[in-house]
Symmetry: none
Subunit: 245 residues, 2 copies
């Protein structure tokens, strides 16, 4: 991850407004840490600190230890250049309603200049009118209209995932395979053809489309050196079987 | 949501392999339902049914009621045309490693033709080598390298979110025509193993990693029905050669 991406993520603040269940605070902390976020604020949590929060945080207890608790959302937004509320409710449609990707793009753009808060409401009631009024934009996670009730920790996970993806701008390297070079692959095909003739599966007088079909099969993947060795070892074993006959 | 998108999502099966904590099963069910998924399979869950699962499922208890429990992953993949494993571990990098968006695109493309499984491993140990060998592709959720441990329910939420987002975009390539289903592929592996033993290339007393390596090779591609027929024809030819000796 580039230093700049990490800097952007470190400028994202997750604010949980009036969370009822301490387990959800822990789940949110874990979700944040898996995606490289660390700045957690809690507005009037019902129970915190709490063993359930620590249990659900798992390896992210450090985020709970560093979390800041405030009485009001205004206080939790101190120093922020932008606050984006979250909602699944139609009644909150008054603000510009952003998809997570659009909200993340906006958040990261502003995070170049300063702290940006993503604000999650109470599990049952969502964000209050007063809390919504503190937000300059509103994000919604598109969900099943018949059951749109994401768990609070799960909603934080989705938002944090999208933020990280956008911050990284999709540099997802393929793992390095020990790929065979094309000459090795050609030698394998020659060996395969010769063996298939010797075991009587391929008739050289009427080869049909057998070899092109087998080439097509193996060319869809990238054969590794070790795999070529295994396959040619198999062919040699077949040939010696034939020779012994 | 268009009917086609919903049809695609209804062909996505979420498989939890050996989950330890019933609460995570419930969280996964809730995550699924919020994103319009409903087909949940559990392979040897440690505790299920369980009150913790129902508590965490919240309004998605119906998915728990309809969940199918099986003894093996193979059984849970019955009827599937594609299985995509999930992992955050570097050791699993042998298969083509897909970002969630790429995995979802692949899954939804194939879901036009049949059931597609997304397979999640045990909370602590992930997918076993044997379970990974049942998967034709591997998805990873890009995470903080210093703490990549997503909660199981949170991982299902991210995957389900990405699937729903992609399903709503609705532009999918034609599915691979004539793809062999997983049972046919398993029968090919069984035939291959048997033949390799008969030609003396595989020593059943000391099989080493030969079959897993061959599975890995073929699982990087999607075998077609015709290709399975060719390969099994080759195996039969080898066997008759051996018999005639």
């Amino acid at each position: 991850m580039h230093a700049q991406s990490q800097n952007l993520l470190s400028n994202i603040r997750i604010v949980l407004a009036r969370p009822s269940h301490p387990g959800n605070i822990g789940a949110a902390a874990r979700a944040m840490k898996t995606m490289g976020l660390s700045d957690l604020w809690l507005v009037s949590p019902k129970k915190f600190p709490h063993p359930d929060a620590e249990a659900m945080a798992s390896g992210a207890v450090d985020l709970l230890d560093c979390a800041t608790v405030s009485d009001t959302l205004e206080a939790a937004l101190t120093g922020c250049v932008l606050a984006i509320g979250t909602s699944t409710r139609l009644r909150d449609l008054q603000a510009a309603l952003l998809a997570p990707e659009d909200a993340a793009g906006k958040a990261l753009t502003e995070a170049q200049a300063g702290k940006v808060a993503i604000v999650f409401g109470n599990e049952t009631f969502g964000l209050s009118k007063e809390e919504l009024a503190c937000c300059q934009a509103l994000m919604t996670i598109p969900a099943n209209p018949d059951y749109s009730s994401l768990n609070l920790g799960a909603a934080v996970q989705v938002a944090a995932y999208v933020l990280r993806r956008m911050a990284l701008e999709e540099n997802f390297a393929e793992p390095e395979l020990d790929a065979a070079d094309l000459e090795e692959v050609e030698r394998f095909y020659a060996h395969l053809e010769q063996t298939l003739i010797r075991i009587g599966f391929l008739n050289p007088a009427s080869p049909k489309r057998l070899m092109p079909k087998l080439r097509r099969l193996f060319s869809r993947t990238r054969l590794q050196k070790e795999e070529i060795n295994i396959l040619r070892g198999m062919l040699s074993a077949m040939e010696s079987t034939k020779t012994l006959r």
